[in-house]
Symmetry: C2
C-alpha cells in the first residue's frame, strides 16, 4: 500500500508530500454526475456498490494518496430516523428542526451495523480495491448541531447560537448526544476498515473563540478521545478558523485541516509543530489558469517548508466548476515538486 | 449636536462610548417593514422622504449616537445604468454580470447630482432633522466587484477570484473604475452633509492576505485617499478579516470595523492604536436572552478597556429576527456602563 498519507499524518518522513482533495468524489467529475444524476445524496449513500464506484472514480484519473468513502455528514442522523432531505446546491433541509428538550428525544443512539450497514459494507468493499489508505469521516458535534437546529442553510447560524447561549442545558445535552453519535459512527468505520478519519467541523468558524472553548471544545475532545484507542490518525477540519486553531488543536486531531485564509506557515505555528497540518489551497484558485494554480500550490508547499506532517489538500471541498484536469495536474505537481530529484520519471518533467 | 461618535472616530476622549448599529434602519423594526413592504430596496432608495423616515426610525426608539442614511451599496451602480434587482433575503442579482473587457464599457462615471439626486437630497433633509452625526457609505471596490462578477449571491466568490487571478488586466481596470465610483459617491455624500463615511468591504474576508495586498489594497487605498481632504472620519469594515486587519489598516480608515471572530483587544492590537476600532458584538447574540447580551456587550467594552477610539457596534448588520427592545437596552447599557458614575440618572441604574 502507498502509505505516505498515513506517514505524513504521523509526522514521519515521506518520499513525497501526500495529496488528496476534500470532495474529490464529486460533481466536478462527469462520470460522477452521470451516476448521481438528480438522486438524493442520502439515497445514493445507501447503495454500497454505487458508493464504491463514486469513491474510486477520482483515483482512476489521478494518483491521489488517499481515498475517502463517498458519504455525507448527515448519514448517521438520517440513519437514526431524522427525516433529512439534501437539496442540491443548498444543503440539508430538516422539516422538523431540533430546538427543545422534547426534540432531543428524537435523537436515539446509533447502532451502525443495523442503521448504516451500507456504509460499512462500502468501506469493506473499498478496502479490497484500494492501493491507498481509506479515510472515513463524520461531522463534528457543532456542525451537526447547526444543521439540526437551523433546519436549513443559514449564513449566520443565529438560531444555533441562540440555543447555545439561551438554553445551555439543552445545548450541552444535544452536544453530548452528537458527540456520542460521532464516536460510534467513526469507530464503526474504523472497525470496518477506515485507516484514518476526518472530523468536519466546517461551520465552527462562525463562533468567537471564548464560545468555542466553552460550548464546543469539550464535545470535540470527546470525539477525538473516543477513537484514540483504535490507533488511526485523525484530522480535525474547519473553515474560517484563524482564531480557533489553538483551541481546535487542544480539542484533538493528529492533523489540523485549515482553509486558505491563514498562510500555511502561520497556521502551523498556531497549531503547534507537534501536529500535522492539512491544506490549504483555495478551491476557487482551481478555476484560474494553470499557471496561477501552479504558483499558488508551490507557495503552499514552500510555506510547509518540507517539514514532515504536511498533507496537501484544498482549503475546502472541490468546487463543482473545477476542471478535473486541473486537479490531476495538481497531484502531479505536488508529487514532483516534493520528490527527490531523479527519484522517478515524473520528477524531471517540470 | 451630540458629537461623541465623531470624537471617538478621532480617538478623542468621550463622555460615553458611542454606539450605532449596522443596518439599524432595517427589517427588525415593524415600522420599517410597514413602509418597505415588498418594495425593491433600490426603488425605495429613490424616494428621499421615505429614506429620511427609514433613517430616523431607529433613532426614535433608542438614543443612538449616529444615524446612517438608508441606502444600499448597489445604489451607485444602478445609478449608472447597471440593471440590478435586490432579491429579498438573498441579495443583489444582475442579469448581465461584468466579466470581460467589453463588459467594462458598461461602467460609466457616476455624476452624483444627476444620477443619484435622491440620495443627496435625503442627506440634506436628514441633516436638518438630526441631533447626531450622519454617516454616508459605499461598498468597497472588491465587494462591489464581487457582486458585479458573480451576478448573484455566492458563498465562495469563485468567479470573482478566477477573474482576479486569470485576467489581471481586466481586474485592475474594473477595480480602478470601482474605486473612482466609490470616491465620487462618497465625496458627493460628504458634500451633501454626511459627517463620516463607512466603506463596506464586507466579503473581502474570503481572500488570502497576499491576494488582498496585491489585488485589493491599492484600490481600497485610492478610496480613502480620495476623500481624505474633506476631513470627515472614515470607517473601513469587513467580515472574517482576522488575517487582513493589518493590511486593511494600511489601506486606510480612521476606524477599522471588525466582526466578532477576533476578540476586540486582539483586533485593536493588529490594527494599531493609531486607529479607532468599531465593533464587535455578534449580531446573533441579540437573539439570545438579555442576560447573555448584557454579559457579551460588557465583555466587548472590557476589551476596549476605555481607550479612546472605540465605537460600539455589532460585528455585522442587525439580523431581521432581532427584538428591537434588545437593541434599545443595548444602547442604554453601553452608555451606562461607560459613563462617569453619577453623571446622569441612567448611570446608577445598573
Amino acid at each position: 500500500m502507498r502509505d505516505r498519507f498515513l506517514r505524513a499524518c504521523r509526522r514521519q518522513p515521506v518520499d513525497r508530500t501526500p495529496v488528496w482533495f476534500m470532495r474529490q468524489a464529486g460533481r466536478y467529475l462527469p462520470e460522477y454526475r452521470e451516476i448521481r444524476g438528480d438522486r438524493d445524496i442520502l439515497e445514493t449513500c445507501r447503495h454500497p456498490e454505487v458508493v464504491v464506484e463514486l469513491s474510486l472514480q477520482p483515483l482512476r484519473r489521478m494518483p491521489l494518496d488517499a481515498a475517502i468513502v463517498f458519504s455525507d455528514i448527515m448519514v448517521p442522523l438520517e440513519a437514526i430516523g431524522i427525516p433529512i432531505r439534501v437539496a442540491s446546491g443548498t444543503g440539508p433541509v430538516l422539516e422538523e428542526p431540533i430546538r427543545s428538550e422534547a426534540d432531543l428525544r428524537r435523537l436515539r443512539p446509533l447502532v451502525p451495523e443495523e442503521d448504516e450497514p451500507y456504509l460499512l459494507e462500502a468501506i469493506r468493499l473499498l478496502r479490497a480495491e484500494l492501493q491507498v489508505p481509506l479515510i472515513g469521516f463524520a461531522g463534528a458535534p457543532f456542525t451537526l448541531a447547526s444543521y439540526l437546529v437551523e433546519g436549513g442553510p443559514s449564513r449566520d447560524l443565529a438560531r444555533t447560537k441562540a440555543l447555545l447561549h439561551g438554553e445551555p442545558t439543552i445545548w450541552a445535552r444535544l452536544m453530548e448526544v452528537l458527540a456520542d453519535l460521532c464516536v460510534t459512527h467513526l469507530r464503526a468505520q474504523i472497525e470496518a476498515g477506515a485507516q484514518a478519519v476526518q472530523v468536519f467541523d466546517s461551520w465552527v468558524g462562525t463562533l468567537e473563540p471564548e464560545d468555542y472553548e466553552r460550548a464546543v471544545l469539550p464535545y470535540a475532545r470527546t470525539v477525538f478521545q473516543g477513537v484514540a484507542d483504535l490507533g488511526v490518525p485523525s484530522i480535525h477540519f474547519g473553515v474560517g478558523t484563524g482564531e480557533l486553531l489553538r483551541p481546535m488543536a487542544r480539542a484533538g486531531g493528529d492533523v489540523i485541516g485549515v482553509d486558505w485564509r491563514v498562510p500555511l506557515d502561520a497556521a502551523w505555528e498556531r497549531v503547534g509543530t507537534d501536529r500535522g497540518i492539512q491544506g490549504n489551497l483555495d478551491p476557487a484558485i482551481c478555476l484560474a489558469p494553470w499557471e496561477v494554480v501552479r504558483a499558488k500550490a508551490l507557495r503552499v508547499l514552500g510555506r510547509a517548508g518540507g517539514r514532515p506532517g504536511h498533507v496537501f489538500n484544498l482549503g475546502h471541498g472541490v468546487l463543482p466548476e473545477t476542471p478535473p484536469d486541473t486537479l490531476a495536474r495538481l497531484v502531479d505537481l505536488v508529487h514532483t515538486a516534493t520528490g527527490e530529484p531523479g527519484e522517478d520519471a515524473a520528477a524531471g518533467a517540470r
